[in-house]
Amino acid sequence: MTAQRSGSPLEARYRRLTRWYPRTWRAANEDAFVGTLLDVADAEGRAAPTRQERLDIVGHAVSARLDRIVVPHVRDAGSTIALTMGTGFALAEFLVSSWAPWIHGNPAPESLVQVGLFRDTGFVFGALWLVALAAALAGRWAVGRIALTVCILAAVVTPYWFVRFPGVWSVDRGTLALFTACALVALVGRPLRSHHTAAAAVGWFLLGVASYGSVVHLTGAWLTSRSLWDGNLWAWYAVGVIEVVAVGLAVARLWTVVFTITLGLTPYILTVVGNELRGILSDSGSAGVIAAPVALGLLLLVLHSSGKLELTDRTRRRVERIRPPRT
């Protein structure tokens, strides 16, 4: 059943806004959706959509499009992993390279100009990621989204902008690529508000510090941010282990967990592949080895989310423990 199109200017504006939605969604819902919007506008005596309404419609439509690429619950879980990974690595970079409190004075006076206490721009990213994590944990994800958007802009702009300030070192491009990819994945979902989220950020932070520590003893010399990708990447091995676990989970048909791992690891994999293409090789192993399983996982995830591949989670049986009645 279809509604007659009255062609009022307000209806035309609402219909224009619905173009943000995927075609299949519009075919199924547009008339009923616009009808409800018009009912609300009539009740409020409005002849134009409100600003909030326009923003809501665009947000809902983008979300509907994303749903067809990655199912919502996997987006949220993947966002949690990306947020914790970005925060952990940003803080590791900040501690080891930008701040390095165990180094006294300027470690490279001929070429480096410090920004206050800091040796590179990592303090900006450390602060932004910390704000994003705190916002997610406090249930203020809108603030976290703003922090991560600023982080993406800063990651894109700073390598070029700081050319104007000779001697001020930017965080290296590999690490900036990781921050950008993590921020993008984190932005498409809503991270879990839980102490597990904070704990995961601490875990990634320790892994980042360990990766820096594999290059040289941390307190012995100053390490530039690029050193994260030069040494024996402990994170590379951690990712490998997580992927082996994911394959086991796929065999057990726990697809939601498998897809969450896949999406969460994507930023790291993209960065390692990007580095290898730029000729930055790590001692731990090739990017291809850890990229292939994630690429396969992403393919399955997109096919599943778009409805082209049915992958049903195995139902976990819950064993009810029946306690004997107290006498």
Binding site: M1, F33, T36
Partner: protein
């Protein structure tokens, strides 16, 4: 949109949508009005929130479509709560009830202690 919070509690809009549908089949705007009335004006559902919630509720089998009607040239889609939806709401009521019982007991004890202390 997820239907429940990490605590297992139904999200506020979802709770009110299901509650409004216990009164019988309703179309989108009628649900928005009912939610506003039932919550005494505290919850003002945006149309996008309503549709996002209904999509998820339908996917989870708690609500289903109940036909379309054209009124004054506008399409109205009706929704009804399913048996599973009623059961989910009953579970939520039991959970809220248990929380309230604990709270009232604690408040009762606290006021008795205060009265005892004042005496």
């Amino acid at each position: 949109m997820l239907l429940v919070m990490s605590s297992g509690e139904l999200r506020e809009p979802v709770f009110w949508i299901l509650t409004s549908l216990t009164g019988g089949r309703q179309h989108g705007y009628a649900i928005i009005q009912a939610v506003s009335e039932l919550s005494e004006g505290r919850v003002a559902l945006a149309v996008t929130t309503l549709y996002a919630s209904l999509e998820r509720l339908q996917k989870d089998g708690l609500v289903q479509g109940d036909g379309d009607e054209v009124v004054s040239g506008r399409l109205r889609r009706y929704f009804v709560i399913t048996t599973e939806g009623e059961q989910r709401l009953a579970d939520e009521a039991a959970r809220l009830d248990a929380k309230l019982r604990v709270l009232r007991t604690r408040l009762g004890r606290a006021s008795t202690a205060t009265a005892g202390g004042a005496a």
